[in-house]
């Protein structure tokens, strides 16, 4: 039997690698496996793009859908999988090269990180509602544990808080799943999509709200995102990059995947989601103005970007969706860059408070320069990739003659500039008290520079991977295609 490239490997491989951890420890290959696994999967994902462009790949486990469990790999989910694995590669290389603290290098974190990636991959791949719940909990548990990894007061507090709020969200989602099953007798997403219209309107509303609250908490939408700054503040900055880079993206994807799939006419939810997105964006950006701790600031900035993506995805036109997917990729890269810089600074200065980082630009020129680059990309300034994705979104709105989101997005970007540039200014303050000795530990910067290069490349030549996003947007919005590919195969 020839080795088959099937979606199941995206889930199976990291799981296998994760559970073989003792072996890697013995062989001394722990870090290299952590690095190699997502790298292999990333390569696999990239190689699958052409194939998936033609028709989605379905991997059936046990029985064919809608009865059985299946994995659904279309352009959109493949894009997310590739993104998660790329983030995994970058994260692993940062851990590997960066000589990070021991609590990030043991067997526990190894397993947890792979599990997190698995969970997120599963979230976007699964075609089954209950599987979704399972992967959601896998991702959740590994995230709670990762958050508390450092085992000190702040980390434990963050982990506990995360666990509590995450569990409550999971209960909401579980309830929604239960109700859905009770109403339709289906768990397969495609079949659910077919039958969802038949449910009574009041029940539709209840289920929708349950899902909205549950996924809203997970995907960090205002006003359900009040927990985010605390968790980001308490966790290790490097780990936080995973939360902001992978976890949120997976949940956002799930939220919109469900919305686009279940609702025959997404216009119903458009107003809700766009309003939530706009609120999330504006509130987060405003609150970020006053933050004194870099992790908190980045957390709010992350929320702001989530709001922007929600706003764009909620509009549900092809252009904005493609732009939003592109923006997801950019945001993952940027936030990883910024949180890595934060990790490096934290290690050097033992604090990430604004007042303690005065003049850091003279002590850590490369790190600060990378921070500046990341900020520019977050703000969507050319020639970095953030600009292209934002432009894509804005152009989508303009083509649809919707001008109020444009105004809000630009206003939010202006507010965002207000705090990012305040930090940059303080970084470059000439403070005689600031440590003057320059030290840049070389290899740790490698993944950072790689990210920066990617940001620049995508900003200058986005046409290289433009097709991916367009196809992904089509796949995400193409409810009919999904129904046909899943149910049509079965019939």
């Amino acid at each position: 039997m020839a080795f088959q490239l099937t979606p199941v490997w995206f889930i199976a491989l990291p799981l296998l690698v994760a559970f073989a951890a003792p072996l890697w420890v013995r062989l001394g290959l722990l870090m290299s496996m952590l690095f190699a696994t997502p790298l292999v999967l990333f390569g696999l994902a990239v190689s699958l793009f052409p194939a998936v462009g033609d028709a989605p790949l379905l991997e059936t486990i046990v029985i064919a859908p809608p009865l059985g469990i299946h994995l659904h790999l279309d352009s959109a989910s493949l894009l997310m999988v590739a993104l998660f694995n790329l983030a995994g590669v970058l994260f692993a290389s940062f851990l590997w090269l960066g000589d990070t603290e021991p609590h990030l290098r043991g067997r526990g974190p190894f397993v947890l990180i792979l599990l997190l990636i698995t969970g997120c991959t599963g979230l976007v791949l699964t075609g089954d509602l209950f599987n979704l719940y399972v992967f959601l909990e896998i991702a959740g548990v590994s995230a709670y544990a990762l958050s508390a990894l450092r085992r000190d007061k702040t980390a434990l507090e963050a982990g506990l808080k995360y666990l509590i709020i995450g569990s409550v969200a999971a209960i909401f989602i579980l309830l929604a799943i239960v109700l859905l099953y009770l109403e339709t007798g289906q768990l397969n997403l495609a079949a659910l999509a077919r039958d969802f219209g038949d449910i009574p309107a009041a029940m539709q509303g209840l289920i929708g709200l349950l899902l909205l609250v549950g996924l809203g908490v997970k995907a960090e939408l205002f006003p359900f995102n009040v927990w985010v700054p605390d968790i980001y503040r308490g966790s290790d900055p490097a780990v936080t990059s995973l939360f902001s880079g992978i976890l949120v993206k997976a949940f956002l994807f799930v939220l919109f995947h469900l919305v686009f799939l279940l609702l025959a006419d997404p216009a119903v939810a458009r107003a809700w989601l766009m309003a939530l997105g706009a609120l999330t964006m504006l509130v987060a950006e405003l609150v970020a103005l006053r933050q004194q701790d870099m992790r908190r600031m980045l957390a709010y900035s992350s929320l702001g970007q989530v709001g922007l993506i929600t706003l764009a995805l909620g509009f549900a036109s092809e252009a904005t969706t493609a732009g939003a997917l592109f923006h997801m990729v950019n945001h993952t890269l940027v936030k990883m860059l910024l949180f890595f810089v934060a990790a490096l600074m934290l290690r050097r200065f033992l604090s990430l408070r604004l007042a303690d980082l005065r003049g850091v630009g003279h002590a850590m020129p490369v790190a600060t320069a990378l921070f500046v680059l990341g900020s520019l990309a977050v703000l969507g300034l050319p020639p970095l990739s953030g600009f292209v994705s934002k432009l894509c979104i804005l152009k989508g709105f303009a083509e649809a003659q919707a001008f109020w989101p444009i105004a809000l997005i630009l206003l939010a970007a202006l507010i965002e500039a207000g705090y990012y540039f305040r930090w940059i200014k303080v970084f470059y303050d000439s403070d005689p008290a600031a440590p003057q000795c320059r030290s840049d530990d070389g290899p740790a910067y490698l993944p950072l520079v790689l990210i920066a290069g990617l940001l620049l490349l995508l900003g200058v030549a986005p046409f290289l991977i433009e097709d991916w996003f367009v196809q992904a947007a089509r796949a995400l919005l193409g409810r009919g295609t999904i129904l046909e590919s899943v149910l049509g195969v079965q019939s």
């Binding site: 548990v141 709670y144 702040t154 506990l160 209960i171 009770l182 700054p229």
Partner: protein, 126 residues
């Protein structure tokens, strides 16, 4: 005398009521109690209420457990097996989460001597 309880509507109504009650008890525990373990118990109770709802509503009175026993070839009259399978899975997952939560809570208590949720203010800023 209690015949009417056998009608699915009534039975389901009672189950719904019961699980809702359980849900709100859990929620109350989560919102009103400050002890970490009590909060975790609250979460567990809420989860339980959902399981209960699921199992109860997916089963009508008179249906048997969906177990393939020897010689059983007639599948009618059996309860829908999927909810039960799913609930089992969910219970396992819930267990894991709870265990993680409790272990974190214990570690937190050991480290700080504190188990009051509202006293967790280490992360305050700005």
């Amino acid at each position: 005398m209690l015949e009417f309880l056998d009608s699915p509507r009534v039975l389901h109504g009672i189950y719904i009521l019961g699980s809702l009650t359980l849900f709100f008890i859990g929620l109350y525990g989560l919102l009103a109690k400050r002890h970490l373990l009590k909060a975790l118990i609250g979460i567990a109770v809420m989860e339980l209420s959902v399981y209960l709802l699921f199992i109860a509503l997916a089963t009508s009175p008179g249906e048997t457990a969906p177990i393939l026993a020897d010689g059983l070839i007639d599948f009618t009259g059996m309860a829908d097996p999927i909810p039960q399978a799913l609930t089992l899975t969910a219970i396992v997952i819930g267990m894991a989460v709870l265990a993680l939560g409790v272990s974190l809570a214990i570690q937190y208590h050991r480290l700080t001597g504190n188990s009051d949720m509202r006293a967790m203010t280490e992360l305050k800023d700005s």
